[in-house]
Symmetry: C2
Subunit: 427 residues, 2 copies
């Protein structure tokens, strides 16, 4: 491929000064403490200058450590006032939304919108399920643990998940040293003959793999986190019907700041206990947030079911799919410029929702540093790219997790830097 080689040489020549600057700046920071993001959405460390689109990007850190879904802002701006919500001063007075529902703080409009969207996309059954709303799926995950662990057991229940697992699981589970449950790490190494809960995240955070339970024990209960089981990220190949399925607005529509998640729960008693946990921990969930979420989910469904209302607007999941496809193409292209990095491959399947055949294009890249680079996160940090080390996910420091759903400008700058690094180390 002489053409590509030629381009590479030109690219290196043009950017040589810039590269040296990167390396120099990197060294400057090498001795400093790392901003350890403990949650998937950890804030940039205070005082660390991170990328602001209004200023010169080259000197700034790009923070892709957390999964802030700012990519979606562009779409919602394009939609203008279609999702505008007006809230009057006398709304949201009462704690109660629907006293006849097990989840008494669930806004009926939100419940309807959730059901409608799942029925449209076909990613989860809703027929015999109870909906429990939470302050993000993070709260629902804790509610599920509370509901599933007996309060009178002699030992805390073991909670496991196959590595690489979502980095927040250990932190959330062990933060209060609960006597009800305890984090026991990698599910593939769990072989005790005792009750356990296995957390199955599919597509998986951080590596995008399609997951099933791995523990072979008899006393296991499964909790499925399906935050990324939407058609912009992965083919919708079946209608999920697990006992407990968790979803979050953040990764579905991009509205992380609304803090809304929902659980589809088969068992009535589990739904009751999950509701009780949310009653105890925050006396319900913001009504305003539920009303906004309902509006947004309904507009998404409308872009498919009432297309005439939306002129030439791209329906939401198609926009997300195209954007993710483009970003993955750019990423794979950057990585392929050298042998410094590698990325996982994903099996190709047909999506029942869109009819398209494609491989998972996850919200995060699980990037591996090849060759002599051992600590991948530190290596990238020297080039002012902040990522989360594989060590946080029960994996090796050879890996990092990188958010692919940040602002376009930020993502473009990241791709440019990664290409450059790939090229430089390839020569």
């Amino acid at each position: 491929m002489p053409g590509i080689k030629h381009l590479l040489i030109i690219s290196i020549a043009i950017n040589a000064g810039l590269v040296l600057k990167f390396l120099h700046d990197g060294d400057e920071w090498a001795g400093r403490s790392v901003p350890k993001g403990v949650l998937p959405e950890a804030k940039p460390a205070n005082g660390l200058q991170t990328l602001s689109r209004a200023t010169d990007m080259q000197d700034q850190y790009i923070n892709l450590d957390h999964g802030d879904p700012t990519m979606y802002e562009t779409y919602w701006k394009q939609m203008g006032d279609k999702t505008t919500l007006v809230l009057s001063g006398w709304q949201s007075i009462s704690y109660f939304s629907d006293t006849k529902n097990i989840c008494w703080f669930l806004e009926p409009g939100f419940a309807n919108a959730v059901t409608r969207l799942h029925n449209l996309v076909g990613n989860a059954q809703t027929g015999n399920y109870h909906i429990v709303v939470g302050t993000g799926s993070t709260q629902l995950f804790q509610a599920a643990l509370y509901a599933l662990c007996p309060s009178n057991a002699p030992q805390p229940m073991s909670i496991v998940s196959a590595a690489p697992f979502y980095s927040s699981y250990p932190l959330i589970i062990d933060c209060l040293k609960s006597g009800l449950y305890k984090w026991k790490g990698d599910a593939s190494k769990f072989n005790k003959d005792e009750p356990y809960i296995e957390l199955v995240t599919s597509p998986n955070n951080p590596d995008g793999s399609i997951r099933q339970a791995v523990v072979n024990g008899s006393g296991g209960i499964l909790v499925h986190d399906l935050a990324y089981y939407w058609p912009q990220y992965t083919p919708i190949s079946f209608q999920a019907d697990h006992d407990i399925m968790l979803f979050t607005l953040s990764k579905c529509t991009g509205h992380a700041g609304i803090r809304i998640g929902w659980a589809l729960v088969k068992d009535k008693e589990v739904a009751k206990k999950m509701t009780k946990f949310i009653e105890i921990s925050s006396i319900g969930v913001s009504k305003d947030s539920q009303l906004r979420a309902a509006k947004i989910l309904d507009v998404i469904a409308d872009t498919y079911e009432h297309t005439q209302k939306f002129d030439k607007a791209t329906p939401f999941f198609h926009y997300g799919y195209n954007e993710m496809a483009k970003r993955w193409r750019q990423l794979r292209s950057a990585v392929s410029k050298g042998q410094t990095f590698s990325l996982p491959d994903f099996p190709v399947e047909k999506c029942n929702f869109s009819g398209q055949t494609f491989g998972t294009q996850p919200a995060f890249a699980w990037l591996k540093c090849e060759k002599a680079v051992d600590d991948c996160a530190s290596f990238l940090r020297k080039h002012k790219i902040l990522t989360r080390s594989g060590t946080h996910f029960g994996s090796s420091e050879k890996y990092v997790r990188i958010s692919l759903i940040s602002h376009q400008e930020e993502y473009g700058e990241f791709i440019q830097r990664l290409s450059l690094i790939s090229c430089v180390y390839a020569t």
Copy 2:
């Protein structure tokens, strides 16, 4: 007072049939299980027909077990579109609100509104405090415990509060069997020589008393819950400057469904750890809720500082004060019709905010059943008034807590029933 006696006799005569109906209906329900409200705002038990203003009140249960602040709906309706908030579809995308703030999910507009209102009312200092926002003050209370209890202590920290204490404290503290802290009950009985946290609620829930710490130990840390330290409930006699002070929108403005609380925290490290807890448990707090709360708090301040904008509208706290004063007059009048019930008296003080001199007029009545009635909650339930028994507050079943901040119609019906019971048992 022959006049009053005369009226009483007439009242009894008129309502005799009604009373018999009440007593009869009460008996019908006597054997059924009690809807045990475990939180201050517990939902009405499913299937239990509670008061709906559109239907005939006399046959229905009045649920005053929880503290749903629906009283305030009337005021906010009167204010029309003054507090209307418009949210665009592209708002609330990011998890972050202000990465320079310790509490990185705190909306700057909300922080400003909180500071402005405290400065206006004079109920708490804000100068050297960090603001931490929470999903109601319930989440902040847990964040405070997490922040104050060392993670490596050999024993869980003892948490105490003087009886009668807020009924949710034991439930929240012990629900996950935390190894960090443990509920140890009535602070006035705590005499161990070990570190402890004392929860001081003032005015107190359930009994409205003005509180100070009661434990005499040396290793104590105090958390002040000042949810009711607002001028509609009690004279603002000093500007509170405790280490950790918790407030909630629910009891200040009545917007319980928005789920917003805030903490004023003196120590930077404590504020950081509280923020970390909220990051772990719900990755921040709804931005929409914060924006609405900011709007509402700003309008309240405007009704005092920019009166010309509001035509003849009563400023918010004056409305609340008048309404609470009226309700307490009605309640004391109903109770004084017989010797069945009694209520606490409160010392009279001057309010620095309003200039008025009055006694606390709490959001809850701490009603005592006198004479032969032992189980006050069951007694009232027979008359279709649902209250929360004193036993939930570490006190006697002779007491009940009754919400005084429900809808006007509901409250009116309650007063009518209570008057009737007072009269009947007085004869």
